[in-house]
């Protein structure tokens, strides 16, 4: 009777351990999914803000046709590092705007290109 009870309890323990193992596997999957969701949502907020900033810079370049000196090649704001690479080809100003994290300039968040026709291309004195 005692032996039967013991084997029953061992069986229960085995079952319980299997349930625990299953739970551990499921929670590991869930936690990794949660962490990924959190990262994706953070990245999406950052991408949105970076895109708004890049669009603003692009619109500024489109409005003013800045060629020399008026817009720095790069600048920082609170969270981002913005780099503007400009080149003029056949009277067309091509500006590549790259937005990266402020703390890690190599970690590019987004990049957009803006083009503007410059009728007075002669004024341009080279890339800075």
């Amino acid at each position: 009777m005692n032996q039967r009870n013991q084997s029953k309890s061992q069986l229960f323990m085995m079952e319980f351990l299997i349930v625990l193992l299953l739970f551990a596997v499921c929670s590991a999957i869930c936690i990794s999914a949660f962490v990924r969701a959190d990262h994706i949502s953070r990245d999406s907020v950052q991408l949105n803000r970076a895109l708004t900033l890049a669009q603003s810079v692009a619109e500024e370049i489109k409005a003013t046709g800045l060629v020399n000196g008026e817009v720095p090649t790069y600048f920082f704001n609170d969270d981002f590092y913005v780099r503007i690479d400009r080149v003029v080809e056949d009277q067309i100003l091509i500006a590549d705007i790259t937005v990266s994290r402020k703390d890690d300039a190599n970690n590019r968040i987004c990049q957009i290109q803006v083009k503007k026709y410059l009728p007075e291309e002669g004024r341009y004195e080279g890339n800075d």
Binding site: N2, S44, V45, T52
Partner: protein, 164 residues
């Protein structure tokens, strides 16, 4: 006689071990649920921030781009609020779209120029803490939403815009 005592002891140790395991399982479940709930809450909050920060700006920016014609864009103030006026001509008549903030919402009023409609008659577009329009330089319009989740964008206005 010593055997049943030992067995009883081992039984109680086993019971205690099972209880501890069960407690561990409960704690882990609570942790996973709390963690998941917090992540869900954060994701929701960020979506809300994105919505309030970007949607209003995108909406107004699209309107401005749509109606960017010579002399068609102007900014003026009424009751301490910035009002963006977008004018257009349809079948020979002048119409205006006013975009402004009133009573917790960004509103839009589309009317024939000179019609006796007031700012209260505008259609609420979305809830916000406020919106500002600034003509920074000739040709650059800054749209700024106010509040914690506020954001701003610069727009190149081909018609150059004009403050009234």
């Amino acid at each position: 006689m010593a055997r049943p005592i030992k067995s009883k002891k081992s039984q109680s140790v086993q019971f205690l071990f099972t209880l501890v395991l069960f407690l561990g399982l409960v704690l882990c479940s609570v942790f996973v649920i709390t963690f998941g709930a917090r992540v869900y809450e954060n994701v929701g909050q960020r979506m809300e921030e994105n919505f309030t920060g970007i949607t209003a700006i995108s909406y107004v920016a699209n309107k401005v781009r749509q109606m960017d014609e010579a002399g068609g864009i102007s900014v003026y103030q009424d009751k301490g609020q910035d009002i963006l006026r977008l004018e257009q001509q349809i079948s020979g008549k002048r119409y205006q779209t006013l975009i402004y903030y009133l009573d917790g919402t960004i509103r839009e009023l589309f009317t024939e120029s000179g019609a006796p409609l007031t700012l209260d008659d505008g259609i609420p577009i979305l809830e916000s803490e406020g919106i500002r329009f600034i003509l920074e330089e000739p040709g650059i319009l800054k749209i700024e939403t106010l509040g914690d989740q506020g954001d701003s964008i610069l727009l190149a206005v081909r018609s150059e815009g004009r403050p009234l």
